[in-house]
Amino acid sequence: MLEAHIIKTLPGGFRLDGRLSTGKGRVTALFGPSGAGKSTLASCIAGLIRPDEGRIELDGETLFGNGIDVAPHHRRIGYVFQEPRLFPHLSVTANLLYGLKRTPEAQRRVAFDQVVRMLDIERLLARRPLSLSGGEKSRVAFGRAVLSSPRLLIFDEPLASLDGARKAEMLPFIERLRDELAIPMIYVSHAVEEILRLADDVAVMASGRITQTGPAVEILNSADFVHAGDGDAGSVIEATLSRPDAGDGLSELRSGAGVLYVPRLPLAEGAVVRLRIRARDIALSRTRPTGISVLNILPARVVAISDGPAASADVVLDAGSTLRARITRRSIRELGLTPGTDVFALIKSVAIDRGTGG
């Protein structure tokens, strides 16, 4: 359990004043746009940047404050950086063992073989970091941090240096670390998809302050969050897998918003999954459309309308649970939408987080 209050003014004049506590959840996401101060806050917690004032407590031990300032190498906080930062002069094995060797035997809780297996890096062990691909480097960096048996593991936008496809490939590895090792994690990111899949709790950060904290589903659906994650607004709902095989390679899910069909999920009936529907993937219609390829059409009622970026507007819908649609302001006018209007929400695609919620 981490309790931190950090005040720091950076040379450019940027002021950070953030309170962050991790709850019982395994993964706390630190979410916010670039420049919000997420990495600075994370670096202060790890001891890489010295706060001007504040207090950092981990598992009841004061790491900073009251005249105490524990050196970073004594904090036992693991850190995965935006770049892999592997030591180029050491083999993959020596990189992995770097932290392990420096951890007293009594505090070692993570086994080398277990981590190598989880991250699927066995065939890389004899190689040098420079000969590895981006994804391979990231996995070795994860393993190196985990093998120092940290009390808290900070992932500071660990996928930032990878392209889209590689990012998606890395998420299962982080999920595996989260599920198989009992290490509390702080996951810094501005990517909603990553947070959706990984986080139990979310702290939202903007302009050097933590503006909101709470359970992931709650925060991901709150209005503030929608604005914080501007380009990628959406809604998150939890659903139960009612029919794993609903024919034609589809699975049927029941949610508060109604029945949804998604590509076949490799899960058992009754599994709970977290779904994210991006606002721009929802179209609205006044009448129930027919002769249309969209599978998921949910009746809903307009709750609120607000202006979005450029020519768009955000429509908050009540479909049993809250949905958000982003359509043009012209469409709002032409459809005559006002709060209370009954509409049909046409959902073009659904992102599914298989890992959490079970």
């Binding site: 790890a46 890489l48 190498h73 036992r76 180029p88 932290g99 420096r102 040098r128 420079l130 941090a145």
Partner: protein, 232 residues
């Protein structure tokens, strides 16, 4: 093959030069690395002064350095007297003095090369090492110095070569004593003062040139090997 055999004077000067140059590198290396690391990684008041002090031998006339060493390390100088009474060490007018003279003259070159290579080491790697439990010393020996190794090697070779060529400070500090302080450049200087020694002088010129060249090529080969290992 008479021509390839070294004369007694040549052999004596060559071996003395090598001995002085190797000792010069050996004793200045720890100080050179420490100074380079401080200049590359630390920020403190007086850093510009330290930087200037280190570079001073580069811009001072060598005879000034030699005379200053004589004042400090001579039998009446306070360092010289202390070394003589505490350790029985005679510095002035011995080959040890030649080592000190060339170490001082070569120091800026060594520090500069090492400092540049330490500055080129990504501080992000050092930060990563800290989060993995390495203390300040551990980081220097496990990350910074191994990655700066090509630059350290360059600094060592530069100091070695500079020592082989050292003349002004040496002759001022320890004079030109056959078998004790008469290194290759001093022997060459001696020969140029004697009419009819052009042939012998030319041989010394060739020996000096070959020696410097071999040192440079050896360092280039080593540096290439290290770089390949870091990149493999």
């Amino acid at each position: 093959m008479e021509i390839f055999a070294l004369s007694a004077l040549e052999r004596e000067a060559l071996m003395l030069s090598l001995r002085v140059a190797l000792w010069c590198v050996a004793i200045s290396l720890p100080f050179g690395i420490l100074t380079a690391w401080v200049l590359a990684r630390c920020d403190f008041p007086g850093k510009a002064f330290l930087d200037g002090l280190v570079h001073l031998p580069l811009v001072l006339p060598p005879v000034v350095v030699g005379y200053a060493l004589l004042v400090l390390f001579g039998q009446q100088g306070f360092v010289g007297r202390w070394l003589a009474t505490s350790f029985g060490l005679e510095i002035a007018f011995t080959w040890k003095g030649a080592v000190i003279a060339s170490a001082v003259m070569a120091f800026p070159l060594m520090v500069r090369a090492i400092r540049l290579s330490i500055e080129a080491v990504d501080t992000g790697l050092e930060a990563a090492a800290r989060t993995l439990g390495a203390g300040p010393f551990g980081i220097v020996f496990s990350v910074t110095l191994p990655l700066a190794w090509p630059g350290i090697l360059t600094g060592m070779v530069l100091a070695f070569a500079r020592s082989l060529g050292e003349f002004g400070a040496t002759i001022t500090f320890v004079s030109n004593i056959p078998g004790e302080t008469r290194t290759l450049p001093l022997a060459l200087y001696g020969l140029t003062q004697v009419p009819g020694s052009e042939g012998a002088a030319t041989r010394l010129v060739i020996i000096s040139t070959l020696l410097a060249f071999v040192a440079l090529i050896a360092s280039e080969i080593m540096a290439r090997r290290i770089r390949k290992r870091l990149a493999a």
